[in-house]
Symmetry: D2
Subunit: 453 residues, 4 copies
């Protein structure tokens, strides 16, 4: 439903990915034009035919709605498009229009062109987002916060580590996307049933020339009913949206009123609620989730559409067009929103520290037990800490009081544990394990990631 410029386009068709009807039409025309040039290069079209068809192949010159109506006669808009394009070129060039091609050649190749534009745009946005996140990871390498598992406070982490996890996801999803874009976007050119019979022996030469004209790969053979490419494009996008969904979910949770550890800066008018002036909605994160949550079902459609009959499918092929467009658009919109969300993300180290401190030291219980282990033996150490924790919790006091100001204190002293040792064990900065190393590793991997060409 959503289109750029449409009522919902600001949310679901944000950014520069263009899968509009006009973009589809132009991509089809670009394919027809590339074919005419390829035919001319192969000596199968009159000199000048390529240029003539290319000159005529401008989307604005066509009546899109009329083409759409004509599509109902054959199930796709290409036959009408080819007729119109033929009519619009000089007689000498007419024979070069659509020669040797079938409708699916044009639509599949156009889809590859759209996918290429979309994937490049997404990759660029992911790179921008990753750069912002790398800044957060580096800047907050040692910023303490409470880690949360199953939505419960667990043990200390750093915001740098959280950001490092986001960064790795972004970089790895971008790498996977770039690999598919570089290796799997291939021209489709097989004619009526994949033999290119109408071009006699010249088919492969024209196919190669067409691929060169359009900057797409030459497949081993036409892939009319081998839809692995479509699945791979969709899956690479789903990898991107999967990664973005995790980050956006974290942002919405960290931005909760009761947590307040991050907020989106956004711009003027962003995230406000006329009815609730105190609210500061994380609009970008919400929009990311609004986009990403639509992708799994669409990917399922693409995968189930791979069951295609014989040399052209009766329905399964047609069922791909919209979900493929939608996946590209939604991935593009989510990536665009993610740039916004992450370049504008403000962390609040004081609030992070406050939330950590409010946990009363309990997240360090494990650490204290480890301190006591060598003296008391692991089971007894665990037992002592558990009882101290229970006493403290029951009395609404921090763990330190449970350890040093409860009936357990004597056992601690008897084991030769000093209050200073307890305080050290209760210092969250002392219980971060490899957090900083992991941040450094993620930043190093990010630095080594291939830049975008």
């Amino acid at each position: 439903m959503p289109t750029p410029g449409g009522l919902f386009g600001g949310v679901f068709a944000r950014g520069r990915v263009d899968t509009s009807d006009r973009a589809w039409l132009q991509a089809m025309l670009d394919t027809e034009a590339g074919l005419a040039r390829a035919l001319e290069a192969a000596g199968l079209a009159a000199p000048g035919a390529g240029a003539a068809v290319t000159g005529a192949a401008r989307a604005d010159a066509f009546d899109l709605a009329w083409l759409g109506q004509q599509a109902a006669l054959t199930g796709n808009p290409v036959p009408a498009l080819a007729r119109e394009l033929t009519r619009m070129v000089p007689p000498g060039a007419a024979a070069a229009v659509h020669k040797g091609a079938t409708s699916q050649d044009i639509i599949d190749t156009a889809a590859m062109l759209l996918a290429r534009q979309a994937m490049a745009t997404v990759a660029a946005d992911l790179a921008t987002a990753a750069a912002a996140v790398a800044g957060l990871a580096a800047g907050h390498r040692d910023t303490l916060m409470i880690g949360r598992t199953l939505l419960q406070q667990a043990v200390p982490v750093t915001f740098g580590l959280v950001a490092a996890g986001w960064l790795t996801g972004l970089d790895e999803a971008r790498t996977a996307l770039a690999r598919v874009a570089a290796s799997r976007l291939a021209v489709q050119f097989g004619g009526a049933a994949g033999t290119l019979a109408a071009l006699d022996a010249a088919g492969p030469e024209v196919a190669a020339a067409l691929a060169a004209e359009l900057g797409l790969a030459v497949p081993t053979l036409p892939w009319h009913t081998d839809r692995l490419r479509v699945i791979e494009i969709g899956a690479a996008c789903a990898g991107v949206t999967g990664v973005l969904s995790k980050i956006a979910r974290d942002v919405t949770l960290l931005a909760q009123s009761e947590v307040g550890e991050v907020h989106e800066r956004g711009g003027a008018g962003r995230g406000g609620s006329s009815a609730m002036p105190h609210k500061h909605n994380p609009v970008a994160a919400i929009a990311v989730l609004g986009c990403t949550r639509q992708v799994p079902g669409l990917l399922a459609t693409l995968v189930s559409s791979a069951e295609q009959e014989h040399q052209r499918a009766a329905g399964a092929w047609h069922a791909e067009w919209a979900p493929l467009s939608d996946v590209l658009r939604l991935t593009g919109s989510a990536a665009s929103w993610a740039v916004d969300m992450l370049t504008g993300l403000a962390a609040d180290p004081a609030r992070m520290r406050a939330n950590l401190d409010a946990a009363g030291g309990f997240p360090l219980a494990e650490h204290v037990a480890a301190l006591l282990g060598p003296e008391l033996g692991r089971p007894a150490a665990h037992d002592l800490v558990a009882q101290a924790s229970a006493w403290a919790a029951a009395n609404g006091r921090p763990l330190r009081d449970g350890l040093l100001g409860s009936p357990e204190a004597g056992r601690l002293a008897a084991a030769g544990i000093t209050p200073e040792q307890v305080d050290r064990a209760l210092d969250p900065a002392g219980y971060l394990g490899a957090a900083a190393d992991f941040v450094d590793a993620a930043l190093a991997a990010h630095g080594a990631a291939e830049p975008l060409g």
Copy 2:
């Protein structure tokens, strides 16, 4: 992606279901207008405010693209829409615009209005399609054809029985759709967090008045994050497309060149292939499948979107809009194509009979075995028929020759089975069981199905 009037609209947005941006905008405006009238009726808006807002609430008066851009500030287009609408009414009516409402009230209620239009349209198309199928079932009640299981010829059926199966599916899916449309399309009106606090004690009264204005049901309480209704709408549509997909699949299979038992009459220019003049593509059936195959994944998105947080979801709600629109549109398009497919379906009884006869009598082997059972005992009967079948198959002869002209013939004669008895057992018309009864039952059930109001 596809919109009516768009490049792919002829295939995927056929018929009268309208989920375009303009339709959404008008439905939102209709909701705002209904609210103003409800407020006035409740004494919460100035006299005339309802009419003033209603007069201003015309989609054409709004700049849809601008609203779409504004939506990016808050995540939905309603705040900007409400501001514009307020600006467009006389000062005295301004206070009635959007009073007590939150954005979700407007969007959810608008979605219900769109769903109502869509479901009524689909139900009408299903009724038309069912009438056509009832005609096929009645007209071909006794038209013999071969039944096929696992895509292999099995035992005789009638085309009337095939059509009766389609008919029952159509009628039952329509009944389910009509039930949801009649009982589950409810107004949404809860204000910022579902308490209607801004209206003080008058909330429920205004909600009821709004529901009456719009012809929707009054829910027990606002359903902002109880999305069962959305699932039920989507599931009822999926029931429709599931049934249509089965019929369309049958049509494509029966229309295969090698089978040729049905074809779509279509209109001029329909289904032809410029490259392959002998082809007669079942365009309507293919288009049905192109639509229906997109629905399962979209329904999955609607179901997974039901996991909505607190009093308004951060993303899951937004993720519903497009899939709900798409499900309604695709169900509408599939139903519209189904009318075309089924009102124009031509059956070829001669070809059906020829295909049945070409099966060489083997589909009747079970019947012959049943004939012999009382004389020979079931195991021996099965054995004899199996050997006769094997002999006939090995010699490229029909089953009759295997029974009467092979080494098994003597055993048959010894059992007192006459050639006339064998021929009777090999007559497919004599082995149809309850086929005609089932056709009659389906037609009776169809006649008893509630007409559309």
Copy 3:
């Protein structure tokens, strides 16, 4: 993967829904036994054959693994099962085994029997859960808490209203489930291609008798490739899991360490973490979500499987068995966990109040603006409150200070607004709109909901 008694069964196969291999086998045997009795009743089997087959039809008497291997020869286990069952009954009853039936008759009917058991179990669990929630709604009808939209604190609500929303969802999902269970679970009996030819004219009579034996409905005609029933069962379950997912999501959010408004009481050992003794994980809510999140994709498979060819599908039918089992199992497990989650849910009104108070009065800004509107005009009132809010927020003070202790105070006084009026407007209990009415309405609707037979 998960089975009761298996490694993951405690989480994903909890409760009394049984879709194990043994349950499937017994349901198939029950169908065969019912058929033998129906045949005897119709005079098509020897006296006593029904009882003989029924006596032999005990799952424990069969080698399940061997049947599974045999299934690979034909694609399903029924042919081997029917042979074994035939072998196990006295000669006189052998002819009654599987007479007239095809494999699909047995498997589809068995699936209906499993669905019936599952749906009844789920409905009972939903009723128990709803009763607990009704208790929460009634008991907390006036318990104040902050409402949250987009995961941000918004305006006051009551916990009773939250529970009332859960209650309505539970009741409506149960109603929909019960409707499908009561009306759409039909016997399947059509023979090789849906004509029941092997029973001659007696097919419908036997089908009706079989339905009566098993307590299932008699369909208009065999529904081998009309899969609407399967979609409806799956969709009703998805409605249940959709509703449960919303409740469980709320529980996990409300149980967050930083929120702490509810917790699961659970039993001994529940929800603890050996590594983190202070944690109290909402295990039941997590398990509910672990179950519910698997359902949308499975439902998509059921819907896309409805595209079935001719008289028996080549793959699409087979693809239904596991997802249907899984949907029933997961819905059952989720419902069982939901009983646990909701009967053991402890609300903390003090913490709710504390979180509300910590919001600094900002959630009441809208209410204050409404108070000022009549005096200042709506725009000026909004403006004043916005500036007071901004001042308070910037100074880390509650809204009251922004209104009464900031530069805006003078404007308030000039408008004749007293501090007492401001305090009344800032009282969350005074800004609950219809919350209590909605709770009462939900409880009334719950009381009126049909009890389970």
Copy 4:
């Protein structure tokens, strides 16, 4: 639902992929054992502890059902498993059990081990299947058959080309699967919240040692809530099943009674129908489709599960286990069936030729038009052929009669076209374009594909 050895395992859990509960348990134990050895290597466990734990870590020594029950207390079986394992080793080794780990470390790493086994098995089966298909492509390089688009006969192709298309799909899907298996199966080891705090500074060293012990990659940092790997595994499997579904769909269609161009040889008892002795069901192809059609929905669940909160997800992680297992199992079963289907596939060139000839030459109409084009001009040539086709079709005669024995014959003669030229144009072997080149290219690419290590 289906398990090897279960009632449906013969169909849906065929082959050597093992995702049974026992396999899961052993993989978890292998991870715990590897961890003990890694800890010992790092000097964090007593000498001999690694061997002691490894010796105890045998699945058969554990009570799987009891572990499953315990899982309900915490949401997963690992805590109970770790306790039991600790109990089973000598006291000196007890401290090495599960040290530093969290439950998710064990389950995620176990999942990687299962995925590795599954992907290797699938890759081997795909290689076997591809070898068989390469044989078909080479052996039928020039075997004529009719190409079919939209389930209608279109233009000639060769069976070699059909097989070449299958081959390319198989090889490319295998390549993608092998790439993921080689690069993306990484150990998970992060402790309670991803810092490995319990191991102090030694965490990364132990992680690397654990990875080495298990033969898995070392990730940049723990990936508890970065689920891109899971999506990539699922997507690679979905690529495999997408390719297999296309092949199996073709086999079922080509094996139709009315088409008869291929059949599955299968083994004794395979594909027969006791009720219909003449049937020869393509059981392997049907089983492939029964498996592959379940994958899209499961992949959707995996993708939507990537939205995981903070440092451990509350439900989304749990929701991955079964669908990941199921995707691996179903891909394995489909690949195993595909080996069976393709190594046993018998093509019938005579039937292919007969079906082609029965098309009456109409599939060559395009070729005839191309012959006439230079003489008559393209439009006139098309027009003449169209009229000849129409005449022939109307009179039930082949296209040759329409060209040479109808009113159009004079126009042909006038254009200097001889009957010999017409016959040459009507020879399907002369209208195959690049079919043979494409077969050769696919075979060459197959030969160049990396062998499995």
